[in-house]
Subunit: 388 residues, 2 copies
Amino acid sequence: MPVDEELTLLMIPGPVPVHPRVYRAMSRVLYGHRTKEYQSQYKNTVELLKQLLHTKEDVYLFAGSGTAAMEAAIANVLEPRDKVLNVVNGKFSERWFELSKAYGIESAQLTYEYGQAANPEAIAESLESDEDIKAVTICHNETSTAVLNPAEEIGRVVRKHGRLLIVDGITSVGGDYVYPDKWNFDVLVTGSQKCLGVPPGLGAIWVGSRGWEKIQARKKKLPSYYFDLVKSKKRFDSSGDSPFTSAVSLLYGLHESLTMMFEEGYEQRVERHRRLGRITRAGYLGMGLELLADPNYYSNTVTAVKYPQGIKDSEFRNFIRRFGILIAGGQGPVKGKIFRTNHMNICTERDVLTTMTLIEVTLKHLGFPLSLGAGVSAAQEQMLKEID
Amino acid sequence: MPVDEELTLLMIPGPVPVHPRVYRAMSRVLYGHRTKEYQSQYKNTVELLKQLLHTKEDVYLFAGSGTAAMEAAIANVLEPRDKVLNVVNGKFSERWFELSKAYGIESAQLTYEYGQAANPEAIAESLESDEDIKAVTICHNETSTAVLNPAEEIGRVVRKHGRLLIVDGITSVGGDYVYPDKWNFDVLVTGSQKCLGVPPGLGAIWVGSRGWEKIQARKKKLPSYYFDLVKSKKRFDSSGDSPFTSAVSLLYGLHESLTMMFEEGYEQRVERHRRLGRITRAGYLGMGLELLADPNYYSNTVTAVKYPQGIKDSEFRNFIRRFGILIAGGQGPVKGKIFRTNHMNICTERDVLTTMTLIEVTLKHLGFPLSLGAGVSAAQEQMLKEID
């Protein structure tokens, strides 16, 4: 068969496969977005998000991608003369810098090689040496490098130094442990199409009490209309919905997906992702491949693998795509040098193992001297260990 | 996650996974089943079925399973005093005997052990030794044993002896080569939920010119109302639809599925099934397992595997089901002794390999002394051979 997009297993780190229950919820006939019935559904969905984040603070939704929620963070929490510390160890943490730049915010940067994790002590030093820095941005789970940054430790350091911490949780929220209150975050953003298991098109932002204090104390606002969180809060407090038209179908989907998460159980879900991460890494290492991420900071929702000598990115990914598996390449400085597969949302051992099996076939076909079954059997061993 | 039926890969030999396009076609709002618009859709669907069978004879559809179509064959083609030769080499060929018995038809039987193929010469001998036999029944692809009977050779023999050949093509039509005219069949039946790629609920029957002669020459009819083919033919000839209420949604689905078959190409589809059969068998043999079927008569749409000593059917199938793969056990005398997996319809290398991988994990977990990856790598080798 030629490439069949509908039968393709999305192993890219988002959008990820969506459960049929979510598609069905989304296929519900549209209801008026300013009716009490819809507002009640909206509020219930926000309640589930709050339950997921173990927080009492409200979460605001935007019809927009995760980047939209990131922009809302910058545009609301910072002021024209603020300085920000952008901790950059990948493409998505770099996006905070791009956003700061777009808004004319002065930025200090703490930069790491792709694959390395952010260092809380280095962040502390930066904050100590520069009193002007008002906020720190990080990406919790750096999707471009498959590194899980030590967000809890960073939160402790940033709070200790009295600055604000703005966190991108786009591939961690719903997939790995994230406790914005307990971990001293001040702003946390996420998107619908990763661990939340919904098609793209919804961005979400959580703001803690210190974040709100900063927003309300602003002397001069950055220019923003669609992303104005004060407007969002006012509307939500009075009517339980959003100031601008809500993405109704996506909200139906998010409600269903969150409902399913709690049916599975929060910890069960996270532990499944972590288990799948271990199986995935065992498989790749068994093939004799190298992982990009620092072994102390492996992501639990995505894995990045270095191409062995002689394997071309486009050939590799086009070949395996013929057999119904879509894999992501690298970005920025590791473009063409790595590939990435996800273990998020409804991913199971079956998806991970079938990916391993076809990656072996692909590498062998492209000339990599692999002993067929070497990675698969390592992943199988790990799977059996996890069962016992 | 607990067993999630919607995320389970149906590796049982039917119902098999259905393409999302077929589900969408089926979700079309119902239209009146006696309108010209629906009759036109019905006729177009029958035309596609005829194209699939390379025939000019019409095909009649019943809201019913494949067994319903089998009953229509017996009830219409035979007369109360006819004698039939039931060639029995599995559960489904035996069903022709059960049907004959239910209608009080005298039956001669030619019986084979499960796993053996029907022998055209033995059929010839039976026909030569018993002038009273009016018709022969066979199952083309014996789903219970994964044996592909030599239908073309049997057709030649039965025609040579001037008898009628009634064929169950339930797991061959749409999956393997089936040429009812060229192969001298007189009646051929099939069902929607196997190689036709539609949910269960539609039975289809094709009758060749000699079959119709027999139907029209009957002196005494067997009792039948719903399955009366004369009524079916009359209605189809005049209005292009069925005498009783048509299964409208399933027909929409069948039209879409047949359309997709011709998009892929008839030979491409059959050759894909055959290729997947070779990969499947290589995998099982690589695990050190034995196949049930005579190697000269392997089915191309389903494979049956003997359990190794010490592996219990229910434990095996329940364990793998936890990981999202549904596998069939054995029937009749091989119940508890074999398992079966399909390679039909939208099945791909990915499905076959993931099944192999998880079967290995399952066997290992249940104590079978397997070298993990042994079967998978054999299947991978076969897959690479097929690519080169």
